[in-house]
Structure formats: C-alpha cells, structure tokens
C-alpha cells in the first residue's frame, strides 16, 4: 500500500516562495498550493517511489491543469477572411510595436498581403519606428500626420487592405495606462471604428503583480482575445503567464523571445512548465 505522503506544509511553503520569485501572482501561488494539496490528499508513496519525484510530478500536473485553455490558431484564423484585422493594445513600453512588426513578418511569410496601421500618433518617433519596420519588412504602412486621430489611421488601413485578397491588417496603437480614462476611451473608439477580428494585449514578462491588473482593466475596457507576453528572453521565469491564464481565463498565444522579427514563439505549455519549475 505504501506510506502516507505526510505533512505538505514545508513543501508548499518552499513552492510558494519559488513561484512568487518567478513572478507568479500571490493569489495564483496560493491557489496552486491549494490545488496541489487537493490533488495529493490521501496519496500514498508506493514502495520504491521517491517522495520528491512524486511531489514534483504533482506540481507539474497541477500547473498543466491550470494552464488548460483553448489556444486560438491566429495563423489559420487569418486565412478565414480578408481583411483579417488585428488590434494591438497594452501599457506603455510592453512591446506592441515590436510585436506588430513580428506579426507582419509572420503573415507576410504566409503569403498574406499585410498592412500595418501606424495608429500611435502621439509618442515621439512612434510613426517613424513602425514605418522603418515596414520598410525593412517590405510591408505597407498606412500613416497620417503626428497628432492625427488614431481611429482614422486604422480605418484607412482597413479600407486600403479591403482592396486586396488574403489581406491582414495589424493596428499598432499608442501605449496607455489602464488608469487613464481618456486613453481608454480613445482605444474603445479605435476598436469601434476598425472592427478588429482579433484584439491582442501585450504584457511585459518582467512585470510582477501588476500584469494581472493591466490585463483585467484592458479587458474590461475594450475586450481582449489573447495575450502576447514579451521579453521572456530577459532571464525571466514568466510566472505572470500562469496568473494571466488561470485568473483571467485568456489564452497566451505567443511569447516575445527577443527583438528580431523571428522572435515570436507560439506559447507551448510544456516548454513553459520546464521553464518555471526548473
């Protein structure tokens, strides 16, 4: 029959600390520990089994359960209609423009006609930044004057793309704080006018507990379909990914794994679990 698993407190306390150190949110770390204890209730260590191994496997399967969510296949969705419109939103500096360029690269590679909307008309150098990316990629960038209405840039990009088959529109917007009512209204207007098929929120893998706040407030304001967690290559464990999926119930479709166009990785739960547990 084997022996009982014994007291789990020391193990779950150690686990909680390493999860918190990996930027898993406090609530998620606690829920994980509860789920784990539930999973191990009444479990017995069979003769010859290593208790540590049993515990580690239980942690992996608990995390796997918590990561279970339908992951939309953006690439195949884009082939379902033309123009397929993608809206990128997120807090300042989280990697929207870089992710927009990466997506443009991926869709061009898949023989779509790609149009980028330079809808950040506010920040210094924003239009230049995405325009240069467009030049490097050989992708059309629709832009207006700095200070112009972002929604009209998005609208123009969609109108232009509508003339072509297999087109994909990627709307890059200005960074904004989830606490700024005016900017949230601006974002809602961009969405209302451009009618995107898919809205992506970018979140910085380096952020801590605030990642969940950002995601919740952006979702409440404008509705997001998926998250791209960027800068995972900056030696982060990306613990916020677990919190975002489990607490917000939104899929993480890609991770940004560097600054080049090829550094957009489809999110793989198995790769992720290896990263966060070891």
């Amino acid at each position: 029959l084997g022996k009982p698993i014994g007291d789990l407190d020391e193990f779950t306390d150690d686990l909680k600390i390493s999860l918190l150190e990996a930027d898993v949110s406090l609530a998620t770390a606690e829920k994980l520990s509860d789920n784990l204890k539930g999973k191990l209730k009444g479990k017995r260590i069979k003769f010859g089994e290593d208790r540590d191994k049993v515990l580690k496997e239980a942690v992996k399967s608990t995390i796997t359960d918590m990561l279970k969510i339908k992951i939309p296949n953006l690439y195949s969705m884009a082939s379902s209609k033309s123009p397929f419109i993608i809206l990128l939103v997120g807090m300042n500096g989280t990697g929207k423009t870089t992710t927009a360029a990466k997506l443009a690269y991926e869709f061009k590679k898949r023989d779509h006609y790609v149009v980028i909307a330079a809808a950040d008309t506010f920040r210094a150098g924003a239009i230049d930044q995405i325009f240069i990316h467009g030049e490097k990629l050989g992708v059309k960038v629709v832009k207006h004057q700095a200070g112009s209405d972002p929604a009209s840039v998005a609208f123009d990009a969609v109108s232009h793309a509508s003339k072509y088959p297999r087109s994909v529109v990627i709307i890059d917007t200005a960074g904004r704080m989830q606490t700024n009512k005016n900017l949230l209204e601006e974002m809602k207007k961009i969405k209302r006018v451009s009618k995107p098929d898919f809205t992506i929120l970018t979140v910085d893998a380096l952020s801590g507990n605030d990642a969940l706040n950002q995601a919740k407030m952006f979702d409440e304001a404008v509705g997001i379909d998926a998250i791209v967690v960027t800068k995972i290559d900056a030696d982060t464990k990306g613990g916020s990914i677990l919190s975002l999926i489990y607490e917000l119930k939104k899929p993480v479709i890609f991770v940004g794994n560097g600054q080049t166009y090829e550094d957009l990785m489809e999110f793989d739960p198995n790769w992720y679990i290896k990263n966060i547990i070891d």
């Binding site: 306390d13 500096g93 920040r123 910085d204 605030d210 950002q214 800068k231």
Partner: protein, 286 residues
C-alpha cells in the same frame, strides 16, 4: 532554507496564545501580503517580516497608539531605512548616463531630465547612444525639439562609443550632457560591456537606472548587474501614474545603495517629480 525561516517566524507568532500576539500575527501577515502585492523582493519581504516581528516583541506599543498601527509604523520605518536619506538632487552641470531594461522609459526620462535642467537655466544636449532600437534616433531628436535641448546623434552609426566621443568633443563646454542608451538585459555580459565602454569614454557624473514601477522580482538582480558595469548613482521609477506600486525599486536601492531621485508620472515631458519617500511608501503599503 528561506521558507523554513518564514514558517518559523509565522508559527512562532501563531504558537503564542495571548490576544495581542494573535493580533500581531494577523497584522504581520497583512503587511507581508501588502509587500508581496507591491512587488517587493520576496527575500527582502521575509527579512522585513522577521525584523518587524522582532521589534514588535522588544518594543512596547506607545501610549497613544495601538498594536496594529505600531506594527505598520515599524515596517514603514524599516522600509524608510532601506530607502536611505533622500538625496537633495541639485541641478548643476553634469554628464548623465541613463541605463535600464527594455521599454522602461529611459528615452522619455532623458527628455524629462532635459526639461528639468533647462527650467533651471542650463544648456542641455541629448545624446542618442541607442544604436540598436528602430527609430531611436528620431524619437530622441523629436524629444530634443520639444524641450529645446540640443541633439547629437550619428544616423546609422552602430558603434555607440563613436557617438559618445563625438558628442563630448562637440559639446565639451556644455553644462549638461544626457546620454540615452538602449534597453538591455544586464545579465547579458556583452550588453553590459557596451555600458562599460560608454562609461569609460563619458566618465559620467551620474548613472541613473530607469525602472518601470511594474517591474517584478527581477529588479534587484538587474540593478545589481547594471551596478557592476557602471556605478549607479540614482534611480528613477517611471509609470507611477498606473496601478503598480513600484516595490521592485526598493531592491534596486538595496542592491546598489543608490537613492531614488525622481519618479515619472506620465508620458508628457513635464511629468517628472522629485522622489518623496513618505508618499511613495504610504501608496505602496496601501
């Protein structure tokens, strides 16, 4: 192990049976949660929890206070201790280098600092030493125009040291030279080497670490690594106009010994304020 000491601290508290001790237990837990939610480094949080519990045992509650407020004041004092004496940042001629991770707000803060110095009557040149980011030159050039600072960059130049030496020779007699560098992962030796190279040439009076208020548990490690390449003399916490509490900045101070000088409270070039530890901590402890 760390968790062992955390468990011991909490179990010691819970083993005591007096009403006051149970209350201490409750408040210490509450404080711990607040610190974790504010993104304070986990090890630092555990250390602080231990200190608070220790001081709570040895210090009687003052007559005009209650156990809860007494404990909160203790943690507040301990945090203030870590943040150190606020440094009176005087506007005077200086060469300043800005460093930090990706997208933290370096280039924007360069503009904010330029405006700060210009308001105090100094001539400022902004130096575009970010040779890597697409559109970095244009971004800093436009910011320079907005604040009325001079701008130095070499379009398409990949060697940041050439840009910095070019800027320093052209602007050798200028009051304030602000060097904006590219975002980087300080745990990458090659990227750190570039910072060393620029610092060697520029011999900056100030090296400011720019930190996003929402940064999580990597803050201390990154600050420590940047500090190895160029001695950090000050920290600027940006994006405090969001919901993030900026707890990561505390570990940056703890690891570098550098004070927090300013905070960024918005995207406009006026949105720079002197760091006020009391206001920062009361917002952090919620």
């Amino acid at each position: 192990s760390l968790s062992k000491s955390l468990r011991e601290t909490l179990r010691k508290i819970s083993r005591s049976t007096s009403i006051d001790d149970n209350l201490i237990n409750e408040v210490v837990r509450e404080i711990q949660r607040a610190l974790i939610l504010a993104d304070v480094d986990i090890n630092l949080t555990i250390e602080l929890t231990r200190k608070v519990e220790q001081r709570a045992k040895n210090e009687p509650v003052p007559k005009n206070s209650n156990p809860r407020n007494h404990l909160i004041l203790i943690v507040y004092e301990e945090l203030l201790n870590i943040l150190g004496k606020p440094r009176e940042f005087k506007a005077k001629p200086a060469t300043i280098m800005l460093v930090g991770l990706y997208g933290q707000g370096k280039t924007t803060s360069a503009g904010k600092l330029a405006r700060f110095y210009i308001k105090h009557g100094f001539k400022v040149v902004l130096i575009a030493a970010d040779t890597q980011r697409v559109g970095a030159y244009e971004q800093l050039e436009q910011i320079s125009k907005q604040v009325g600072a001079d701008f130095f960059g070499i379009y398409g130049e990949k060697d940041s040291r050439k840009i910095v030496s070019g800027a320093l020779s052209k602007y050798s007699n200028w009051d304030v030279k602000i060097i904006d560098t590219s975002g980087r992962n300080a745990l990458n030796e090659d990227l750190l080497e570039e910072i060393r190279g620029i610092a060697e040439i520029a011999k900056p009076d100030e090296v400011m670490l720019i930190l996003d208020a929402s940064i999580g548990q990597q803050a201390g490690k990154q600050a420590e690594a940047f500090n190895k390449a160029a001695k950090i003399t000050g920290v600027i916490i940006t994006k405090l106009d969001g919901t993030a509490k900026g707890g990561g900045a505390i570990s940056a101070v703890a690891k570098t010994g550098a004070p927090i000088l300013f905070i960024g409270t918005g995207e406009h070039l006026d949105d720079l304020e002197y760091f006020n530890p009391a206001r920062f901590l009361s917002r952090l402890l919620g």
